[in-house]
Each structure stands twice: as structure tokens, then as C-alpha cells.
């Protein structure tokens, strides 16, 4: 798993490549919660190169979503491959997580969150 962290305006973007499983999820967990602790309120996960996710990855995404909600922040997921999207659908996570087709649409989604408040 390769993890890249970038910032676009006030949006923290994590690009995750490879597999997100029990072996690799700790590195991802450390990075995302460091960003949230540092005050990030808009977090975008770019899944275009994510090949595989297990419940270990889902656990971190659920926890991050709950933490961000407490600070009125948002987590947006983008550009999922079909198989990864299926795991989100099986687990029902697609019912409460914003999943956007592309990174560009993901960035735009934060604007709509602001407009709806």
C-alpha cells in the first residue's frame, strides 16, 4: 500500500494505492487521524488506485467519519473501482458516506456541504 497526502486549499487529500487490509491499515489510520487531530475538517480519499479493501479499512473510514462529524467536518470518498465500491455496498456504508465518481466531483461536494449548512 502506498499513501500520498496532499492539500488543496483547505481539503486534505489522501491517495491510497494497492491494498487496504489488516497489515496496511495501521499506516493509513495513523495518517488520517493525525490530519484530523491537526484540525482538518475536509478530508478526501482518492481511491482511484485502491485495488482491495477489507473490513480493517472500513473500520478506519467509519471511525474517521464519526470523528469528523463531531467537529462538523466531512469525509468524501472518490473514484472507487467497481470491486471496492461493491464492498461499500455490501456493508451498507454507501448509505451514509458520500461516494463521488471523480476527485473533481469530490472537491465540489464539499461546497455543497457548506451550502447546505
Amino acid at each position: 500500500m502506498k499513501l500520498t497526502e496532499t492539500k488543496q486549499s483547505d481539503i486534505v487529500i489522501f491517495r491510497i494505492q494497492g491494498r487496504l487490509d489488516s497489515n496496511t491499515s495501521t499506516a493509513f489510520e495513523d495518517k488520517i487521524f493525525s490530519a484530523i487531530k491537526a484540525g482538518a475538517k475536509k478530508v478526501l480519499l482518492d481511491f482511484s488506485d485502491l485495488e482491495y479493501i477489507s473490513s480493517a479499512g472500513l473500520r478506519i473510514i467509519l471511525k474517521a467519519t464519526k470523528d469528523l462529524k463531531r467537529t462538523e467536518g466531512h469525509l468524501v470518498l472518490c473514484a472507487m473501482q467497481d470491486y471496492v465500491k461493491e464492498v461499500f455496498e455490501i456493508s451498507g456504508f454507501d448509505t451514509f458516506l458520500p461516494i463521488m465518481p471523480s476527485v473533481g466531483e469530490g472537491i465540489q461536494a464539499f461546497e455543497s456541504f457548506i451550502a447546505s449548512h
Binding site: 487490509d21 467509519l62 464492498v87 456493508s91
Partner: protein, 159 residues
Amino acid sequence: MKDKSLTFKLKCRMKELDALHRKITEFGRRTGLPAKSVLEINLALDELFTNLVSYGCAEGNEHFVRFSITLKADDLFIKMEDTGTAFNPLACIPPDLTCCLTERAIGGMGIHLVRHVMNHLAYRRCGKVNILEMKKCLAGLACGEGPKLPAGMKKTSAD
């Protein structure tokens, strides 16, 4: 598809997860399984193995798990045998997938994923060994497709 089989043994250590993934991927390539089925099999065995390493192995004892995978015509049969703590995954309460975000718990999600991607699950405890037998139907699948059977069609049994 010709009949094909694979048997391998792993130590119950998380770093063995990569070996599990490699072996299933190689088996899928060798037997020509649809890519989506290989990913689903990977997911199910990953969840079961992670569960075993995380909760089923008492400290101080070396535990092992053996996977036996057999492809017969269009059905894939998988047997998982481990020496961990007695654990019947079929007795797990399914997670509530309808509750809101704040009430949502991650517990049980791994087994839920296993139940979803497999068509048949049967558990028994033999002496000090957990035995979980699984069946995945591949009939009629083209590359990139998977079985979509309702949960009620998944026959399960346990001691």
C-alpha cells in the same frame, strides 16, 4: 474448467496475510477464475484469517491454519482448519446495516462480508480444531461478475 486443488498451511501471524493473498491470486490465475471471484475469495479468507489471528490465538502458543481449495466443475470448495479458540462464525449476530452513522458499529462486518461472498458455510469443532467449509458457485459467471444470491439461499449449519 478442469478440477484443480491447492492446500497450504500458514502460521497464525498477521504478516502471513500477504502469503494468503499471493496463493489465492496465483490459484485463480492458474485455474482461470474470474477476477472478481478471486477478489471475493481473497476477501472472505482475509476476514476469517484476520479474525483468527486477532481473537482466536492464545498468547504463547503457536497456532496454524490450513486452507484446502478445490475447484470442481463450476463450484469452488474451501476448507479452513485451525487450532485456535473454538469459534463458530455462523453464530455471530449480523450487523444492523440500516442504523444511522452514529449508531453504526464495525463489529461483525468481516463475517457479514464472508457470508455475502460465499454461497454455503458450515462450521464444526473437531477436538481442538475449528473446521469451516465454504462453497462458492461460479456457474454462469463471466469475468467481472459474481453470484448475487439472496441471503436466504445460504445454507449454514453448526454443531
